[in-house]
């Protein structure tokens, strides 16, 4: 007798159909057990999506701001108290080959008030700085109202307010030609700047022309901060030579910084958080997998008679194990798909709220579904083998 004479077989589409028997007869249980996987995958996709979207936003921001801006300040000299940048340092730094533009601010010993009636102590923490017309372009600033200092206003008692300074003084437009009480004199507000992402100190400043400061405020101080735009490819080289150029006598008293580094550092800190949340997502996924395994074990116990019937109808052990394995994979796969949708939804909602572009890495989407299917298969393995091991007579004895 040929051994191949008797062979049960099942149409592939029927394998899927039989695998959904349990899901159709107990939809609530199926939904709840898939929920764990959905939350795990959803969390992971959302974390990856948010991290990707915020990274794209940062790159965009860096692109806009330019990473070729350096700030030069006096550091604290060891044993010499507060150091200063030499007056010539601006000119010296401007002579470095790849430097495209320089500008500066110099702290003025004066305070600014909305009127002359405000008590002297209520400075609003607004500092007064002397500068030059080139500053706006060098730091990449824009005006919210009016104009920046120009060659004319740079010698007159005119002032440009940073965004925060304007807000604190209660001036939101130039309507009515507002004046402020600055250094015991009235100054006309000629412009209000928009917020500068990289220079919060300028946001909190009232800027006057260098000559104005010298004429009206008895100012003669050295530059406090020098802003340097260098060719993008030479930024680091320029940063290296600035200390010795700006202050050849005490180069160690010169501090050079790249403000965009702070943004990148913040992003690096975000990466740590991302890893943490991914870990939490993985734990949720694991718990979800255990939940599915649990539900499948119960399902096999409850459906003994169905297993017995199928064996009587001609199902082999392999057919039975495939059915339960497929069922747990479908369960987890559906949870995974729902999780991907959830994760993308969260990312899109948050990105919309923050005004970012929504970016979800394809690897997160595909990886999410594949991970869910894998977990489903692993979780279903033991229950499936148990179902297959059940002898038909045992299964039918109910």
């Amino acid at each position: 007798m040929s051994n191949g004479e008797f062979r049960s077989s099942i149409h592939p589409s029927d394998l899927v159909r039989t695998a959904t028997v349990g899901l159709r007869t107990r939809p609530m249980r199926a939904a709840l057990s898939a929920l764990g996987i959905m939350i795990g995958i959803g969390a992971m996709v959302a974390v990856l999506g948010l991290s990707e979207s915020s990274k794209a936003e940062l790159l965009d921001q860096l692109e806009r701001l330019g990473t070729n801006l350096l700030t030069v300040e006096a550091g604290i000299g060891i044993g010499r108290g507060v150091a200063e940048l030499p007056n010539e340092s601006i000119e010296m730094v401007g002579r470095i080959g790849p430097v495209e533009a320089t500008s500066f601010v110099s702290d003025v010993a004066a305070n600014v008030y909305r009127t002359d009636l405000i008590p002297v102590s209520q400075t609003g923490a607004i500092s007064v700085k002397a500068t030059e017309p080139e500053l706006l372009e060098t730091v990449g600033g824009t005006m919210a109202a009016g104009v920046f200092l120009d060659d004319a206003t740079v010698t007159y008692p005119a002032v440009v307010l940073g965004a925060v300074a304007a807000e604190r003084l209660g001036i939101d437009s130039l309507v009515g030609s507002p004046m402020v009480w600055l250094g015991e004199k009235w100054f006309a507000v000629s412009g209000i700047m928009t917020t500068l992402q990289l220079h919060p100190d300028l946001d909190r400043s009232a800027l006057v022309g260098q000559s104005t400061a010298e004429t009206f405020l008895d100012h003669e101080g050295p530059p406090t901060v020098i802003y340097v735009r260098a060719k993008p490819e030479d930024v680091l080289a320029v940063a290296d030579v600035i200390p010795a150029t700006a202050n050849p006598e005490f180069p160690d008293q010169v501090e050079v910084a790249r403000p965009t580094d702070a943004l990148e550092a913040a992003e690096a800190a975000d990466d740590t958080l991302t890893a943490l949340f991914l870990g939490l997502g993985a734990v949720a996924l694991l718990v979800g997998g255990v939940g599915i395994a649990n539900v499948m074990v119960i399902s096999v116990l409850e459906r003994r008679s169905e297993i017995g019937l199928r064996r009587a109808l001609g199902a082999t052990r392999r057919h039975i194990s495939s059915q339960f394995l497929a069922e747990s994979s479908i369960l987890a796969g559906a949870g995974g798909l729902a999780g991907v949708v959830l994760g993308v939804g969260i990312t899109a909602a948050w990105a919309f709220y923050r005004g970012w572009d929504t970016l979800v890495p394809l690897v997160a989407v595909i990886g999410g579904v594949v991970a869910a299917l894998t977990i489903g298969a692993v979780a279903g393995l033991y229950p499936a083998l148990r179902a297959a091991r059940l002898s038909p007579t045992e299964a039918l004895r109910s």
């Binding site: 007798m1 008797f6 062979r7 099942i10 009587a312 199902a315």
Partner: protein
């Protein structure tokens, strides 16, 4: 002479408990094609074990089981599954219908493991349901059917494959007298149309109404009587 549908030779089944239980002892039984017989006996007489052995759901401890000429001991577990899907239909006391499915799809499941496509299986299921008198109940789910109707669906599932042998295990066990009679009538009709049927029951009245009665007691055949055709 044609090959018997079912042949048991010296079949014994011993359950290895302590002390061992001899559920079936030295049974010889031949069922020819076209027969309708009752396997009757009190509880514990070995009926269920006999049914499982005849249906290849279990193997005997000793002796030989032959289904349409194929010796069961020569076949692997997977081949026995194939043998069942091709040759043996089952009817159970508890019907075992899938609750979420229509009558039509429950019957179509009788051919599930033959590899036939769903459309073909449904077409044949429709015919089988018409045969058992349920042509008007195709789309009803199991919970919408009466007990008798459920058993008819289960019978349709057992005959949809046009199997060589239909084994019915207490098919009227969950039904009232009147419904039981109609089910027995149905089995008789199916038999007349050519289906070989073995009915396992403890109901003597039903057994007496069938052409051949095999009585079991303590795992052995007590009597085997064939009525003369009327």
């Amino acid at each position: 002479m044609t090959t018997p549908v079912l042949q048991l030779k010296n079949v014994s089944k011993v359950y290895p408990t302590t002390p061992p239980v001899k559920a079936v002892q030295d049974v010889d039984l031949t069922v020819e094609a076209g027969e309708l017989l009752a396997l009757v006996g009190p509880s514990g007489s070995g009926k269920s074990t006999m049914l499982h052995i005849m249906g290849t759901l279990d193997r005997p401890t000793s002796g030989e089981v032959t289904i349409v000429g194929h010796s069961v001991s020569d076949l692997s577990d997977a081949e026995l599954s194939g043998l069942r899907s091709a040759h043996i239909g089952f009817v159970f006391q508890a019907f075992y219908l899938l609750t979420g499915y229509s009558a039509l799809d429950n019957v179509a499941d009788g051919l599930l493991y033959t590899g036939m496509s769903l459309d073909d299986r449904r077409a044949r299921a429709r015919e089988a349901l018409a045969t058992v008198g349920l042509a008007h109940r195709l789309e009803h789910v199991a919970t919408q059917l009466s007990g008798g109707e459920r058993q008819r669906v289960a019978i349709a599932r057992a005959i949809v494959g046009e199997h060589s042998l239909v084994l019915a295990d207490e098919p009227t066990g969950n039904l009232d007298t009147q419904t039981s009679e109609s089910i027995v009538d149905l089995l008789r009709d199916l038999n007349r149309a050519g289906t070989t049927i073995v009915v396992v029951t403890h109901d003597l009245e039903i057994a007496e109404s069938l052409p051949r009665i095999v009585r079991l007691r303590d795992g052995s055949i007590e009597s085997d009587r064939t009525k003369k055709p009327v």
